[in-house]
């Protein structure tokens, strides 16, 4: 059941990406194109999707900090500690 849900979500994401990319492609003009120049388009589209999650998380943690009374620096220190333990 969960597997089917995951697949549906992935299909929806594919459709969304195709729709968004169709909106962007016609308006972009290319000069001499090296393989890497496509990454501007890729990062724009993936960045837009990621920014939604980023903004949501930012406010979520803000609210969470207000509730728990933790300071932003404490979260930061925990995060840095995680990197050291990787």
């Amino acid at each position: 059941m969960n597997k089917r849900k995951g697949l549906t979500a992935k299909l929806l994401l594919t459709i969304q990406i195709c729709l968004v990319s169709n909106l962007f492609f016609p308006s972009i003009a290319f000069a001499y194109v090296d393989p890497g120049s496509g990454s501007v388009i890729v990062t724009t589209i993936l960045g837009l999707i990621a920014a939604i999650g980023y903004t949501f998380r930012k406010y979520f943690y803000k609210v969470k900090r207000m509730i728990t009374g933790k300071k932003a620096e404490e979260d930061q220190d925990e995060e840095d500690q995680d990197q050291d333990n990787e």
Binding site: I17, V33, V42, T44, L46, A50, I52, G53, Y54, D80
Partner: protein, 488 residues
């Protein structure tokens, strides 16, 4: 190459050698000052252009950079005074300033790293770009060659890669990050494809258009594949088609990207990489510590022999080639400054890495490499990436129960192997496995070729031409013989 010599205070100094792999970024270049005596270490210097020097001066005052240095995430670095004799020699090439970096013990390349090593290197790269962006900086590239290792800890070495972030600038290293870090991780984690030979060929990373060919059908719906491989491949293919049919160059409009977009993308990649994992299967060598053919007493005798010769003289570098899960690397690690532990079995090396990274202060660097086909010199001019045996010579080499595999699995004559060992000009602890040993018998069971030249007498005869046998001991009731050899 012509060497420039300069007389400084009545001493003739040779200009430091420019690193053959450091030329892609015109804003800086790495130089190596060879040690003047055997006890000294090589010095690593980096010439900076005027712009790069100004940026470094700004960067060195940033708290996030100082924190990264203190945590060991970035290699220890300092700006040299112009009166440093080696700095002045480097500045002859027109550099405005010279940095000195702490030398990493042994240079390695991503096609020698196990899955978790590449994953940890990727997470370090992402961590640094995230911290940079949060503080108004960015990294101008994302190549795996900017990460090296101090023991089992990754360290970022390319300090001039840090650049001030300009409002609206996209993450320019995104494609490089995907090609060099993410794609090989996805190939191994999702499809169990050995990423190392692919990385050895694609030294600049696996392009998305090539990577997409591995992910067909439902495989393209695996985590991260659609967004970071299939979609970029579609975009690149579409661009290539347009360019083919559209000869005149046109101005490309670059889109501005907000910090939330760039940071969001970096953070989403961090979450993706963190979730990637592999299953460590039981391979020939991954369980060596419990499946080896020794009785306890013989195993202890072997350990004692290795300890005796590893501990008597101070060794800088020990190579444990054919290390399995690193039993003897661990035994010898306290007698030297660095152990390079090499094995062709990915899962054995992965286990050693996972164990050692939890061990604070470990000086063991595990590497995956098939010893019958060591990493060659490659890249531009065949010297951009150095061959494994040309980087730094060891002081002591372990070849424990390896020679029968070299002879019977890789068909390399013992004389060839001994000649290669001799070229390293180091002491060698070598365990010869006799024909009567059950492991050799197993190897020969289904082979037509029975390697009649493989015998203890023949081995000793060949070894004595190149080495002096300083010590030897019989193990397993004479089925094995362990030697301590020094080069003639």
């Amino acid at each position: 190459m012509r060497k420039i010599k300069i007389k400084i205070m009545n001493r003739v100094k040779t200009k430091p050698e420019a690193n053959a792999g450091s030329f892609r970024d015109p804003a800086n270049r790495v130089y190596e000052v060879a040690p003047e005596s055997s006890g000294e270490k090589a010095r690593i210097l980096r010439g900076l252009s005027e712009d790069a020097l100004t940026i470094y001066q700004q960067l060195s005052g940033e708290a996030f950079f100082q924190k990264a240095l203190a945590a060991g995430h970035v290699v220890q670095t300092e700006l040299l005074e112009a009166d440093d004799e080696n700095a002045s020699l480097v500045m002859i090439d027109g550099w405005a300033g010279v940095l000195e970096h702490e030398a990493v013990p042994f240079v390695t390349y991503p096609y020698e790293w196990s899955f978790s090593m590449l994953k940890d290197a990727a997470l370090l790269q992402l961590h640094l770009i995230e911290k940079s962006l949060e503080n108004g900086w960015t990294l101008k590239d994302a190549t795996t060659y900017n990460i090296q290792w101090i023991g089992p800890r990754p360290v970022f070495i390319d300090v001039p890669s840090f650049q001030p972030w300009k409002e609206g600038e996209p993450w320019v290293g995104y494609r490089q990050f995907c090609s060099m870090f993410l794609t090989p991780l996805l190939l191994r984690a999702h499809l169990d494809i050995d990423h190392l030979p692919i990385l050895r060929s694609y030294i600049d990373g696996i392009p998305p258009t090539e990577a997409a060919k591995y992910f067909t059908g439902s495989k393209r719906f695996k985590k991260g594949v659609l967004s970071h491989i299939i979609f970029p491949a579609k975009v690149e293919n579409s661009i290539a088609r347009r360019e083919r049919d559209d000869a005149p160059a046109r101005q490309r409009i670059t889109r501005k990207q907000s910090k939330a977009m760039v940071l969001g993308l970096v953070q989403s990649l961090s979450r993706l990489v963190r979730k990637l994992s592999i299953e460590i299967k039981h391979t020939d060598w991954s369980q060596y510590y419990k499946t080896h053919s020794y009785e306890e007493a013989d195993f202890s005798a072997k350990k004692a022999f290795v300890t005796k010769h590893a501990s008597t003289t101070k060794q800088e570098h020990i190579w444990d080639i054919g290390c399995n899960t690193g039993t003897f690397s661990k035994v010898s690690s306290k007698y030297c400054s660095q152990v390079i532990s090499v094995d062709g079995d990915h899962n054995a090396v992965e286990q050693l890495y996972l164990a050692e990274k939890m061990n604070a202060g470990s000086n063991i660097l595990p590497l995956v490499m098939n010893l019958s086909n060591i990493s060659p010199g490659q890249g531009w001019g065949g010297s951009e990436r150095q061959a494994f045996d040309q980087r730094r010579k060891p002081d002591l080499v372990f070849c424990l129960a390896l020679i029968h595999h070299v002879r019977m699995s890789a068909n390399i004559p013992n004389a060839f192997f001994l000649k290669w060992l001799h070229s390293l000009q180091a002491g060698v602890i070598l365990e010869f496995v006799n024909r009567e040993d059950e492991m050799v018998m197993k190897l020969l069971t289904n082979k037509k070729e029975q390697y009649e030249d493989y015998s203890l007498d023949q081995f000793i005869k060949e070894a004595e031409q190149l080495f002096t046998i300083k010590d030897r001991e019989s193990l397993k009731d004479g089925k094995r013989e362990i030697f301590y050899l020094t080069p003639r």
